[in-house]
Amino acid sequence: MLEEVLLAGFGGQGILSAGMLLAQAGMAHGLHVAWIPSYGPEMRGGTANCGVTLSDRPISCPLVTEPTTLLAMNQPSLDKFAPKVKPGGLIIYNSSLARWDGELGLGRRLLGLDATAQAEAIGNVRVAVNVLVGAFIALTQIIPLERVKEALRVVLPPHRHHLIAANEKALEVGASLALAKVGEGIALR
Protein backbone atom coordinates (compact mmCIF):
# COMPACT_ATOMS: atom_id res chain seq x y z
CA MET A 1 0.00 0.00 0.00
CA LEU A 2 1.39 3.34 -1.06
CA GLU A 3 -0.51 6.65 -1.09
CA GLU A 4 1.23 9.74 -2.38
CA VAL A 5 -1.06 12.65 -1.59
CA LEU A 6 -0.59 16.16 -2.93
CA LEU A 7 -2.46 18.90 -1.08
CA ALA A 8 -2.59 22.27 -2.80
CA GLY A 9 -4.36 25.60 -2.48
CA PHE A 10 -3.95 29.25 -1.54
CA GLY A 11 -1.60 30.27 1.22
CA GLY A 12 -3.71 30.60 4.37
CA GLN A 13 -6.06 27.71 3.56
CA GLY A 14 -4.22 25.46 6.00
CA ILE A 15 -2.73 23.25 3.30
CA LEU A 16 0.57 22.55 5.07
CA SER A 17 -1.16 21.86 8.40
CA ALA A 18 -3.65 19.49 6.74
CA GLY A 19 -0.72 17.59 5.25
CA MET A 20 0.91 17.42 8.67
CA LEU A 21 -2.38 16.11 10.08
CA LEU A 22 -2.37 13.24 7.58
CA ALA A 23 1.30 12.48 8.31
CA GLN A 24 0.79 12.57 12.08
CA ALA A 25 -2.30 10.35 11.88
CA GLY A 26 -0.53 7.95 9.53
CA MET A 27 2.43 7.67 11.88
CA ALA A 28 0.13 7.08 14.86
CA HIS A 29 -1.57 4.34 12.81
CA GLY A 30 1.78 2.60 12.33
CA LEU A 31 2.42 3.65 8.73
CA HIS A 32 5.64 4.98 7.29
CA VAL A 33 5.12 8.64 6.48
CA ALA A 34 6.89 11.64 4.98
CA TRP A 35 5.78 15.27 4.55
CA ILE A 36 7.39 17.73 2.20
CA PRO A 37 6.20 21.32 1.85
CA SER A 38 6.69 23.70 -1.00
CA TYR A 39 8.84 26.39 0.56
CA GLY A 40 9.51 28.63 -2.42
CA PRO A 41 8.43 32.21 -3.04
CA GLU A 42 4.85 30.94 -3.35
CA MET A 43 4.80 30.76 0.46
CA ARG A 44 4.63 34.54 0.41
CA GLY A 45 1.20 34.54 -1.26
CA GLY A 46 -0.22 32.55 -4.13
CA THR A 47 -0.33 28.76 -4.08
CA ALA A 48 0.98 26.50 -1.36
CA ASN A 49 1.33 22.76 -1.58
CA CYS A 50 2.74 19.81 0.26
CA GLY A 51 3.26 16.15 -0.47
CA VAL A 52 2.42 13.42 2.04
CA THR A 53 3.53 9.83 1.52
CA LEU A 54 1.76 7.08 3.49
CA SER A 55 3.02 3.54 3.09
CA ASP A 56 3.11 0.17 4.82
CA ARG A 57 6.75 -0.17 3.66
CA PRO A 58 9.75 2.09 4.29
CA ILE A 59 9.50 5.07 1.94
CA SER A 60 12.20 5.19 -0.70
CA CYS A 61 11.41 8.50 -2.33
CA PRO A 62 9.52 11.03 -0.19
CA LEU A 63 8.98 13.42 -3.11
CA VAL A 64 5.46 13.43 -4.55
CA THR A 65 5.76 14.09 -8.27
CA GLU A 66 3.01 11.75 -9.53
CA PRO A 67 0.38 11.79 -6.77
CA THR A 68 -2.06 8.95 -6.30
CA THR A 69 -4.43 11.50 -4.76
CA LEU A 70 -4.77 15.24 -5.24
CA LEU A 71 -6.63 17.40 -2.74
CA ALA A 72 -7.08 20.74 -4.55
CA MET A 73 -8.50 23.71 -2.66
CA ASN A 74 -8.58 26.22 -5.53
CA GLN A 75 -8.68 26.53 -9.32
CA PRO A 76 -4.95 27.12 -9.99
CA SER A 77 -4.05 24.03 -7.94
CA LEU A 78 -6.60 21.87 -9.72
CA ASP A 79 -5.49 23.07 -13.16
CA LYS A 80 -1.80 22.64 -12.37
CA PHE A 81 -1.79 19.30 -10.58
CA ALA A 82 -4.78 17.28 -11.89
CA PRO A 83 -2.89 16.29 -15.07
CA LYS A 84 -0.03 14.97 -12.90
CA VAL A 85 -2.19 12.50 -10.97
CA LYS A 86 -1.36 8.85 -11.62
CA PRO A 87 -3.64 6.79 -13.89
CA GLY A 88 -6.54 5.54 -11.79
CA GLY A 89 -5.82 8.19 -9.18
CA LEU A 90 -8.25 10.24 -7.17
CA ILE A 91 -8.85 13.99 -7.35
CA ILE A 92 -10.92 15.68 -4.67
CA TYR A 93 -11.40 19.39 -5.19
CA ASN A 94 -13.12 22.32 -3.56
CA SER A 95 -16.09 22.96 -5.84
CA SER A 96 -16.83 26.20 -3.97
CA LEU A 97 -13.73 27.73 -5.58
CA ALA A 98 -12.90 25.50 -8.54
CA ARG A 99 -14.55 23.66 -11.38
CA TRP A 100 -13.42 21.05 -13.86
CA ASP A 101 -15.37 20.70 -17.09
CA GLY A 102 -12.95 18.90 -19.39
CA GLU A 103 -11.97 15.27 -19.80
CA LEU A 104 -9.34 13.91 -17.45
CA GLY A 105 -8.79 10.42 -18.84
CA LEU A 106 -6.50 7.60 -17.67
CA GLY A 107 -9.17 6.30 -15.34
CA ARG A 108 -8.67 9.14 -12.90
CA ARG A 109 -11.70 9.91 -10.75
CA LEU A 110 -12.92 13.38 -9.83
CA LEU A 111 -14.93 14.34 -6.80
CA GLY A 112 -16.00 17.95 -6.22
CA LEU A 113 -17.13 18.90 -2.72
CA ASP A 114 -18.26 22.41 -1.72
CA ALA A 115 -15.70 22.54 1.07
CA THR A 116 -15.69 26.30 1.60
CA ALA A 117 -19.49 26.43 1.81
CA GLN A 118 -19.53 23.49 4.22
CA ALA A 119 -16.89 25.15 6.38
CA GLU A 120 -18.89 28.37 6.46
CA ALA A 121 -21.89 26.36 7.61
CA ILE A 122 -19.74 24.82 10.36
CA GLY A 123 -18.78 28.35 11.35
CA ASN A 124 -15.11 28.61 10.39
CA VAL A 125 -14.01 28.90 6.79
CA ARG A 126 -10.46 27.90 7.74
CA VAL A 127 -11.43 24.27 8.36
CA ALA A 128 -12.50 23.81 4.71
CA VAL A 129 -9.42 21.80 3.76
CA ASN A 130 -10.38 19.13 6.29
CA VAL A 131 -13.62 18.51 4.37
CA LEU A 132 -11.36 17.20 1.59
CA VAL A 133 -9.16 15.32 4.06
CA GLY A 134 -12.24 13.65 5.56
CA ALA A 135 -13.40 12.64 2.07
CA PHE A 136 -9.97 11.18 1.27
CA ILE A 137 -9.98 9.15 4.49
CA ALA A 138 -13.49 7.84 3.85
CA LEU A 139 -12.78 6.84 0.24
CA THR A 140 -9.41 5.18 0.85
CA GLN A 141 -9.93 3.90 4.43
CA ILE A 142 -6.17 4.24 4.76
CA ILE A 143 -6.36 5.52 8.35
CA PRO A 144 -9.36 5.34 10.72
CA LEU A 145 -11.07 8.75 10.92
CA GLU A 146 -10.74 8.61 14.71
CA ARG A 147 -6.96 8.55 14.37
CA VAL A 148 -7.11 11.67 12.24
CA LYS A 149 -9.23 13.41 14.84
CA GLU A 150 -6.78 12.40 17.58
CA ALA A 151 -3.93 13.79 15.50
CA LEU A 152 -5.56 17.24 15.58
CA ARG A 153 -4.50 17.48 19.21
CA VAL A 154 -0.87 16.97 18.25
CA VAL A 155 -0.76 19.06 15.08
CA LEU A 156 -2.73 22.07 16.30
CA PRO A 157 -0.78 24.22 18.78
CA PRO A 158 -2.48 24.54 22.19
CA HIS A 159 -3.72 28.06 21.47
CA ARG A 160 -5.70 26.64 18.53
CA HIS A 161 -7.29 23.74 20.43
CA HIS A 162 -10.59 25.64 20.57
CA LEU A 163 -10.76 24.88 16.80
CA ILE A 164 -10.61 21.10 17.30
CA ALA A 165 -14.41 20.70 17.32
CA ALA A 166 -14.83 22.62 14.04
CA ASN A 167 -12.02 20.62 12.44
CA GLU A 168 -13.57 17.34 13.59
CA LYS A 169 -16.90 18.41 12.15
CA ALA A 170 -15.24 19.25 8.82
CA LEU A 171 -13.62 15.81 8.70
CA GLU A 172 -16.99 14.14 9.42
CA VAL A 173 -18.87 16.24 6.85
CA GLY A 174 -16.26 15.46 4.19
CA ALA A 175 -16.39 11.74 4.96
CA SER A 176 -20.17 11.52 4.79
CA LEU A 177 -20.46 13.66 1.63
CA ALA A 178 -17.85 11.48 -0.08
CA LEU A 179 -19.56 8.25 0.93
CA ALA A 180 -22.86 9.63 -0.36
CA LYS A 181 -21.18 10.45 -3.69
CA VAL A 182 -19.80 6.92 -3.93
CA GLY A 183 -23.41 5.88 -4.34
CA GLU A 184 -23.48 8.20 -7.34
CA GLY A 185 -20.64 6.41 -9.07
CA ILE A 186 -17.29 7.39 -7.55
CA ALA A 187 -15.75 3.95 -7.23
CA LEU A 188 -13.75 3.00 -4.20
CA ARG A 189 -10.28 1.74 -4.85
Binding site: M20, Q24, M27, A34, W35, C61, P62, L63, T65, E66
Partner: protein, 353 residues
Protein backbone atom coordinates in the same frame (compact mmCIF):
# COMPACT_ATOMS: atom_id res chain seq x y z
CA UNK B 1 10.61 3.92 21.46
CA UNK B 2 8.45 7.05 21.01
CA UNK B 3 8.33 8.29 17.44
CA UNK B 4 7.71 11.93 16.62
CA UNK B 5 7.40 13.80 13.36
CA UNK B 6 10.37 16.09 13.01
CA UNK B 7 11.57 18.50 10.37
CA UNK B 8 15.06 17.87 9.01
CA UNK B 9 16.28 21.30 10.06
CA UNK B 10 15.06 20.65 13.60
CA UNK B 11 16.76 17.24 13.62
CA UNK B 12 20.13 18.89 12.89
CA UNK B 13 19.53 21.03 15.98
CA UNK B 14 18.23 18.29 18.28
CA UNK B 15 21.02 15.95 17.15
CA UNK B 16 23.54 18.63 18.09
CA UNK B 17 21.99 19.19 21.52
CA UNK B 18 22.08 15.46 22.23
CA UNK B 19 25.71 15.34 21.11
CA UNK B 20 26.55 17.85 23.82
CA UNK B 21 26.80 20.91 21.56
CA UNK B 22 26.16 23.98 23.69
CA UNK B 23 27.21 26.81 21.38
CA UNK B 24 25.69 27.94 18.10
CA UNK B 25 26.75 30.96 16.07
CA UNK B 26 25.08 31.67 12.76
CA UNK B 27 23.10 33.93 10.51
CA UNK B 28 19.70 33.11 9.02
CA UNK B 29 19.27 31.99 5.41
CA UNK B 30 16.61 29.91 3.63
CA UNK B 31 16.24 26.91 3.48
CA UNK B 32 17.93 26.23 6.83
CA UNK B 33 16.45 28.95 9.08
CA UNK B 34 14.36 26.49 11.13
CA UNK B 35 17.67 25.12 12.42
CA UNK B 36 18.84 28.33 14.18
CA UNK B 37 15.20 29.02 15.05
CA UNK B 38 15.01 25.67 16.84
CA UNK B 39 18.32 26.13 18.64
CA UNK B 40 17.43 29.69 19.69
CA UNK B 41 14.70 28.10 21.80
CA UNK B 42 16.42 24.85 22.72
CA UNK B 43 19.97 25.87 23.63
CA UNK B 44 18.99 28.15 26.56
CA UNK B 45 16.90 25.24 27.93
CA UNK B 46 20.09 23.16 28.31
CA UNK B 47 22.32 25.99 29.53
CA UNK B 48 23.83 26.67 26.12
CA UNK B 49 24.42 29.81 24.11
CA UNK B 50 22.65 30.76 20.89
CA UNK B 51 24.00 33.84 19.21
CA UNK B 52 22.92 35.36 15.94
CA UNK B 53 26.05 36.96 14.53
CA UNK B 54 26.13 40.04 12.34
CA UNK B 55 27.30 37.95 9.38
CA UNK B 56 28.47 34.48 8.39
CA UNK B 57 32.07 35.72 8.52
CA UNK B 58 31.60 36.72 12.15
CA UNK B 59 29.77 33.48 12.95
CA UNK B 60 32.52 31.17 11.72
CA UNK B 61 35.13 33.14 13.67
CA UNK B 62 33.00 32.88 16.81
CA UNK B 63 33.01 29.13 16.15
CA UNK B 64 36.83 29.35 15.99
CA UNK B 65 36.95 31.03 19.37
CA UNK B 66 34.59 28.63 21.11
CA UNK B 67 36.32 25.60 19.56
CA UNK B 68 39.71 26.92 20.72
CA UNK B 69 38.31 27.13 24.24
CA UNK B 70 37.32 23.45 23.99
CA UNK B 71 33.56 23.79 23.50
CA UNK B 72 31.37 21.59 21.34
CA UNK B 73 30.25 24.22 18.85
CA UNK B 74 28.50 24.43 15.51
CA UNK B 75 27.24 26.75 12.84
CA UNK B 76 24.87 26.25 9.96
CA UNK B 77 24.01 28.04 6.78
CA UNK B 78 23.05 27.47 3.18
CA UNK B 79 25.26 27.67 0.12
CA UNK B 80 26.00 31.43 -0.25
CA UNK B 81 26.52 31.73 3.52
CA UNK B 82 28.87 28.73 3.53
CA UNK B 83 30.90 30.44 0.79
CA UNK B 84 31.31 33.45 3.08
CA UNK B 85 32.66 31.15 5.81
CA UNK B 86 35.39 29.53 3.73
CA UNK B 87 38.29 31.60 5.05
CA UNK B 88 37.33 30.73 8.61
CA UNK B 89 36.93 27.05 7.74
CA UNK B 90 40.47 26.99 6.33
CA UNK B 91 41.75 28.60 9.56
CA UNK B 92 39.83 26.05 11.65
CA UNK B 93 41.39 23.22 9.64
CA UNK B 94 44.85 24.84 9.91
CA UNK B 95 44.53 25.35 13.66
CA UNK B 96 43.07 21.83 14.04
CA UNK B 97 39.91 22.95 15.79
CA UNK B 98 36.94 20.58 16.07
CA UNK B 99 33.54 21.95 15.08
CA UNK B 100 30.49 20.98 13.02
CA UNK B 101 29.29 23.00 10.03
CA UNK B 102 25.91 22.21 8.48
CA UNK B 103 25.25 23.23 4.87
CA UNK B 104 21.61 22.89 3.77
CA UNK B 105 22.41 23.32 0.10
CA UNK B 106 20.39 25.49 -2.29
CA UNK B 107 20.69 26.43 -5.95
CA UNK B 108 23.75 28.34 -7.13
CA UNK B 109 26.10 29.82 -8.20
CA UNK B 110 25.85 33.34 -6.81
CA UNK B 111 22.63 34.16 -5.02
CA UNK B 112 21.02 31.33 -7.00
CA UNK B 113 17.69 30.42 -5.42
CA UNK B 114 16.27 28.74 -2.34
CA UNK B 115 15.39 25.43 -4.02
CA UNK B 116 17.23 22.19 -3.12
CA UNK B 117 20.59 21.40 -4.76
CA UNK B 118 23.78 19.39 -4.31
CA UNK B 119 26.07 21.74 -6.18
CA UNK B 120 28.38 22.44 -3.21
CA UNK B 121 29.92 18.95 -3.32
CA UNK B 122 33.23 20.22 -4.70
CA UNK B 123 33.32 23.03 -2.16
CA UNK B 124 32.70 20.63 0.74
CA UNK B 125 34.88 17.75 -0.41
CA UNK B 126 37.70 19.32 -2.42
CA UNK B 127 38.50 22.37 -0.34
CA UNK B 128 36.51 25.57 -0.60
CA UNK B 129 38.99 27.51 1.47
CA UNK B 130 42.69 27.83 0.72
CA UNK B 131 45.46 25.42 1.60
CA UNK B 132 46.05 21.69 1.68
CA UNK B 133 43.25 20.64 4.02
CA UNK B 134 40.32 18.26 4.19
CA UNK B 135 36.95 18.33 5.91
CA UNK B 136 35.31 15.15 7.07
CA UNK B 137 32.06 15.31 5.17
CA UNK B 138 28.84 13.45 6.09
CA UNK B 139 25.72 13.20 3.91
CA UNK B 140 22.49 12.04 5.63
CA UNK B 141 19.52 11.03 3.49
CA UNK B 142 16.65 10.93 6.00
CA UNK B 143 15.54 12.90 9.02
CA UNK B 144 16.45 10.00 11.33
CA UNK B 145 19.90 9.84 9.80
CA UNK B 146 20.35 13.59 10.31
CA UNK B 147 19.71 13.04 14.01
CA UNK B 148 22.12 10.08 14.14
CA UNK B 149 24.92 11.62 12.08
CA UNK B 150 25.03 14.85 14.11
CA UNK B 151 26.26 12.80 17.08
CA UNK B 152 28.85 11.12 14.91
CA UNK B 153 29.89 14.48 13.45
CA UNK B 154 30.79 15.93 16.86
CA UNK B 155 32.60 12.74 17.90
CA UNK B 156 34.66 12.68 14.69
CA UNK B 157 35.45 16.39 14.99
CA UNK B 158 36.89 15.81 18.45
CA UNK B 159 38.62 12.55 17.50
CA UNK B 160 40.54 14.18 14.66
CA UNK B 161 40.56 17.80 15.87
CA UNK B 162 39.10 18.73 12.51
CA UNK B 163 36.02 20.58 11.25
CA UNK B 164 33.24 18.25 10.06
CA UNK B 165 30.83 19.34 7.32
CA UNK B 166 27.33 17.84 7.29
CA UNK B 167 25.77 18.28 3.86
CA UNK B 168 22.02 18.44 3.55
CA UNK B 169 19.80 20.11 0.98
CA UNK B 170 16.57 22.07 0.92
CA UNK B 171 14.43 18.94 0.78
CA UNK B 172 16.13 17.24 3.72
CA UNK B 173 15.93 20.46 5.71
CA UNK B 174 12.25 21.10 5.02
CA UNK B 175 10.78 17.58 5.06
CA UNK B 176 9.23 15.90 8.08
CA UNK B 177 9.68 12.21 8.86
CA UNK B 178 9.18 10.16 12.00
CA UNK B 179 12.25 9.89 14.21
CA UNK B 180 12.92 7.78 17.26
CA UNK B 181 13.59 10.18 20.07
CA UNK B 182 14.62 8.50 23.31
CA UNK B 183 14.07 10.59 26.43
CA UNK B 184 16.81 13.23 26.65
CA UNK B 185 19.38 12.13 29.19
CA UNK B 186 21.19 15.41 29.75
CA UNK B 187 24.91 16.08 30.02
CA UNK B 188 27.38 13.75 28.36
CA UNK B 189 30.78 12.82 29.70
CA UNK B 190 32.96 14.18 26.91
CA UNK B 191 36.65 13.37 26.43
CA UNK B 192 39.03 16.02 27.82
CA UNK B 193 40.72 18.52 25.49
CA UNK B 194 44.11 19.18 27.09
CA UNK B 195 45.12 21.33 24.09
CA UNK B 196 42.30 23.87 24.60
CA UNK B 197 43.00 27.46 25.67
CA UNK B 198 41.35 27.32 29.06
CA UNK B 199 43.93 29.25 31.09
CA UNK B 200 47.16 27.97 32.64
CA UNK B 201 45.73 27.17 36.08
CA UNK B 202 46.98 23.75 37.14
CA UNK B 203 49.01 23.40 33.96
CA UNK B 204 51.78 25.96 34.01
CA UNK B 205 52.36 26.05 30.26
CA UNK B 206 50.35 28.04 27.75
CA UNK B 207 48.33 26.34 25.05
CA UNK B 208 48.55 28.17 21.74
CA UNK B 209 46.05 27.82 18.89
CA UNK B 210 47.61 29.01 15.66
CA UNK B 211 47.78 28.43 11.93
CA UNK B 212 50.68 30.81 11.15
CA UNK B 213 54.07 29.21 10.49
CA UNK B 214 56.56 31.64 8.93
CA UNK B 215 59.28 29.08 8.21
CA UNK B 216 58.43 26.97 5.13
CA UNK B 217 60.00 23.83 6.60
CA UNK B 218 57.95 24.25 9.74
CA UNK B 219 54.72 24.72 7.78
CA UNK B 220 55.58 21.77 5.59
CA UNK B 221 55.94 19.63 8.71
CA UNK B 222 52.48 20.81 9.85
CA UNK B 223 51.05 19.91 6.45
CA UNK B 224 52.64 16.45 6.60
CA UNK B 225 51.18 15.93 10.06
CA UNK B 226 47.75 16.98 8.74
CA UNK B 227 48.15 14.59 5.82
CA UNK B 228 48.88 11.73 8.21
CA UNK B 229 45.62 12.63 9.98
CA UNK B 230 43.66 12.65 6.71
CA UNK B 231 45.19 9.27 5.83
CA UNK B 232 43.98 7.94 9.17
CA UNK B 233 40.48 9.23 8.33
CA UNK B 234 40.68 7.42 5.00
CA UNK B 235 41.62 4.21 6.77
CA UNK B 236 39.04 4.40 9.54
CA UNK B 237 36.04 6.55 8.66
CA UNK B 238 34.60 5.53 5.29
CA UNK B 239 30.88 4.88 5.57
CA UNK B 240 28.29 3.85 3.02
CA UNK B 241 25.06 1.94 2.46
CA UNK B 242 24.22 -0.37 -0.41
CA UNK B 243 20.85 -1.53 -1.74
CA UNK B 244 20.47 -4.66 -3.86
CA UNK B 245 24.12 -4.36 -4.81
CA UNK B 246 24.69 -8.12 -4.84
CA UNK B 247 24.23 -9.24 -8.46
CA UNK B 248 23.71 -5.66 -9.62
CA UNK B 249 24.87 -5.11 -13.18
CA UNK B 250 23.79 -1.48 -13.36
CA UNK B 251 24.96 0.31 -10.22
CA UNK B 252 23.42 3.67 -9.36
CA UNK B 253 25.42 5.98 -7.11
CA UNK B 254 23.81 8.85 -5.24
CA UNK B 255 23.99 10.67 -1.89
CA UNK B 256 21.54 12.59 0.31
CA UNK B 257 18.10 13.29 -1.12
CA UNK B 258 19.12 11.96 -4.54
CA UNK B 259 19.83 8.58 -2.96
CA UNK B 260 16.15 8.41 -1.98
CA UNK B 261 15.10 9.09 -5.57
CA UNK B 262 17.71 6.63 -6.87
CA UNK B 263 16.54 3.92 -4.48
CA UNK B 264 12.99 4.23 -5.78
CA UNK B 265 14.39 4.13 -9.33
CA UNK B 266 16.27 0.90 -8.51
CA UNK B 267 13.02 -0.65 -7.26
CA UNK B 268 11.23 0.24 -10.51
CA UNK B 269 14.12 -1.00 -12.65
CA UNK B 270 14.09 -4.32 -10.78
CA UNK B 271 10.34 -4.60 -11.45
CA UNK B 272 11.19 -4.28 -15.14
CA UNK B 273 13.80 -7.03 -14.91
CA UNK B 274 16.89 -4.81 -14.94
CA UNK B 275 19.53 -5.88 -12.41
CA UNK B 276 20.02 -2.49 -10.78
CA UNK B 277 21.56 -1.70 -7.40
CA UNK B 278 22.61 1.34 -5.38
CA UNK B 279 25.71 2.61 -3.61
CA UNK B 280 25.01 5.49 -1.23
CA UNK B 281 28.14 7.17 0.13
CA UNK B 282 27.48 8.41 3.69
CA UNK B 283 30.96 9.92 4.02
CA UNK B 284 31.72 12.03 0.95
CA UNK B 285 35.21 12.60 2.30
CA UNK B 286 36.71 10.11 2.86
CA UNK B 287 35.02 8.68 -0.24
CA UNK B 288 34.00 5.04 0.26
CA UNK B 289 35.73 2.88 -2.36
CA UNK B 290 35.05 -0.57 -0.85
CA UNK B 291 31.48 -0.98 -2.21
CA UNK B 292 32.76 -0.16 -5.71
CA UNK B 293 35.47 -2.80 -5.43
CA UNK B 294 32.81 -5.27 -4.29
CA UNK B 295 30.67 -4.42 -7.33
CA UNK B 296 33.37 -4.68 -10.02
CA UNK B 297 33.02 -8.42 -10.63
CA UNK B 298 29.42 -8.08 -11.89
CA UNK B 299 28.87 -4.38 -12.65
CA UNK B 300 28.64 -3.50 -16.32
CA UNK B 301 28.09 0.23 -15.77
CA UNK B 302 27.79 2.83 -13.03
CA UNK B 303 25.23 5.63 -13.17
CA UNK B 304 25.82 8.59 -10.89
CA UNK B 305 22.75 10.74 -10.15
CA UNK B 306 23.13 14.18 -8.58
CA UNK B 307 21.33 17.49 -8.15
CA UNK B 308 24.17 19.25 -9.98
CA UNK B 309 25.89 18.96 -13.33
CA UNK B 310 28.41 16.32 -12.26
CA UNK B 311 30.56 16.62 -9.13
CA UNK B 312 30.61 13.37 -7.13
CA UNK B 313 30.86 11.59 -10.49
CA UNK B 314 34.53 12.67 -10.54
CA UNK B 315 35.22 10.75 -7.33
CA UNK B 316 33.37 7.76 -8.75
CA UNK B 317 35.57 7.88 -11.87
CA UNK B 318 38.69 8.13 -9.68
CA UNK B 319 37.49 5.06 -7.80
CA UNK B 320 36.40 3.04 -10.84
CA UNK B 321 39.66 3.87 -12.69
CA UNK B 322 38.27 2.98 -16.11
CA UNK B 323 37.31 -0.59 -15.20
CA UNK B 324 33.72 0.10 -16.18
CA UNK B 325 31.81 2.91 -17.94
CA UNK B 326 30.58 5.65 -15.59
CA UNK B 327 27.46 7.57 -16.72
CA UNK B 328 25.93 10.67 -15.22
CA UNK B 329 22.46 12.14 -14.91
CA UNK B 330 21.74 15.38 -13.09
CA UNK B 331 19.44 18.37 -12.88
CA UNK B 332 20.52 21.62 -11.36
CA UNK B 333 19.45 25.13 -10.37
CA UNK B 334 17.06 23.71 -7.79
CA UNK B 335 15.39 21.18 -10.10
CA UNK B 336 15.16 17.70 -8.56
CA UNK B 337 15.34 14.72 -10.93
CA UNK B 338 12.19 12.62 -10.65
CA UNK B 339 12.16 8.85 -10.24
CA UNK B 340 10.71 8.55 -13.78
CA UNK B 341 13.56 10.64 -15.24
CA UNK B 342 16.20 8.53 -13.53
CA UNK B 343 14.49 5.30 -14.61
CA UNK B 344 14.29 6.47 -18.23
CA UNK B 345 17.95 7.51 -18.29
CA UNK B 346 18.99 4.22 -16.64
CA UNK B 347 17.06 2.26 -19.27
CA UNK B 348 18.88 4.14 -22.05
CA UNK B 349 22.20 3.25 -20.43
CA UNK B 350 21.08 -0.37 -20.01
CA UNK B 351 19.98 -0.76 -23.62
CA UNK B 352 23.37 0.42 -24.89
CA UNK B 353 25.31 -2.08 -22.75
Amino acid sequence: MPRVLMKGNEAFGEGAIRAGCRYFFGYPITPQSELPHYLARRLPEVGGVYLQAESEVAAINMVYGAAAAGARVMTSSSSPGISLMQEGISYLAGAELPCVIVNVMRGGPGLGNIAPAQSDYFQAVKGGGHGDYRLLCLAPSSVQEILDLMGLAFDLADKYRNPVMVLGDGILGQMMEPVELPPYSGELELPPKPWATTGTAGRGTRNIINSLYIEPEELEAVNLRLRAKYQRMEEEEKRWETYLLEEAELVLVAFGTMARVARAAVERLREEGIAAGLIRPITLYPFPDAPFHAAFSRARAFLVVEMNLGQMVEDVRLTVEGRCPVHFYGRTGGVVPTVAEVVNFAKEVWQKL
